[in-house]
Symmetry: C2
Subunit: 222 residues, 2 copies
């Protein structure tokens, strides 16, 4: 990834602190239970995708693209705390095919785009636009990976993207502990593959000494 | 596609006439030979991707994404006459992984972003931003198709996108003649599959009466 991608595919970048502060100070805080659909074209969703910008303060969200594929209706990327979603809406790019849901119990802060634009100075609005565009580039890279790499390659890229999302520079670290435990089912959604493929790959990598798992984390040996 | 996608995946939308006029009046006209790389990270390219906006007046361009995959290094979408590329650059989204090349002898008009912005009124700049965002949505849909559909589905979607790009409303047409002949190799790049797969599929569809081919066109029966 360091070699190929400038972004961390499947894991959008962190929001700058200045923008986080705006959400925490002015946004509406909502606690979301696991599996609740927060936003998007789903009858159980709290909001439409063009209604709210959503900042995640704690927990874990998933951003699922509708694929119109019978067997695998969604392709998912994950949203770690400190990120903002509905960036396509902020950029006024059509995002009606997305759904945002809580993969864990999460705390979010929401604001409308016009609320955000109304209270922020030009330099912070520019910062927001830059953030949203970086998130789009990350999505492009993830999609590119999705259709060009086989599942083991994709999974390796995804774990590297995760590692790079938690640490500034992993190049000198002999091992990286990712403080997040995803289920095999969640990984299969993110990789858009079957659970069986994940069940085959991860134990194999564990027995080969590439990874190990703890109660609440995953360790990657390099 | 009418059913699932609001865009025509793999085939970006046409530039509004008002914007075409700006390129034709103020742009620099260049004739490009087949296979010349026009723009992007390639040593034979005429320009970098952040140097020029490129309007295609006649011919056929290809927009190739670098995939970092050894066997299939590019995934391609086609650019029909009347379109403008380097829209990611206009939106200031990183597009360093793309290459734009001529698939046929083509005439293009080029301008820099600052040249375009310097001579156009706000409403036309807004029109340009809307155009570029629509092109991004088309790319998202194409990528989504690429990793979720099998090759026959992808190829059917692609032919439908082509048909919808040449005609305003194909819903009432018993057959659609696409005035463009793509080689099996070109189709394999666009579908990111092997030539063999295309060689297997298209003759089969022809014998089943779904399509027929003329010297310079492809006919789809519905």
């Amino acid at each position: 990834m360091g070699k190929y991608y400038k972004t961390t595919p499947w894991v959008i970048p962190e929001l700058p602190q200045s923008l986080k502060n705006i959400f925490k100070k002015n946004g509406k805080k909502i606690s979301i239970r696991k599996n609740q659909v927060i936003s998007g074209n789903d009858e159980t969703a709290l909001f439409s995708n063009t209604e709210k910008l959503i900042y995640i303060d704690s927990g874990l969200l998933g951003q699922a693209y509708k694929t119109y594929c019978v067997n695998k209706p969604y392709a998912m990327s994950i949203v770690l705390p400190g990120r903002m979603v509905n960036y396509l809406h902020y950029l006024e790019i059509d995002n009606s095919g997305d759904i945002i849901l809580a993969l864990r119990k999460s705390d979010i802060f929401t604001m409308t785009k016009s609320q955000f634009d109304g209270i922020t100075e030009k330099d912070l609005k520019d910062e927001m636009v830059r953030y949203c565009k970086k998130a789009v580039t990350s999505d492009f890279d993830a999609m590119c990976c999705m259709f060009t790499c086989d599942t083991p390659q994709r999974l390796a890229y995804f774990l590297k993207a995760l590692a790079e999302s938690f640490y500034d520079d992993i190049s000198t670290m002999p091992l990286v502990e990712i403080p997040l435990k995803l289920s095999y089912a969640e990984m299969s959604y993110i990789m858009h593959t079957t659970i069986r493929t994940i069940e085959r790959l991860l134990p194999k990598w564990r027995s080969m000494g590439y990874i190990s798992t703890r109660r609440n984390s995953l360790i990657i040996y390099k």
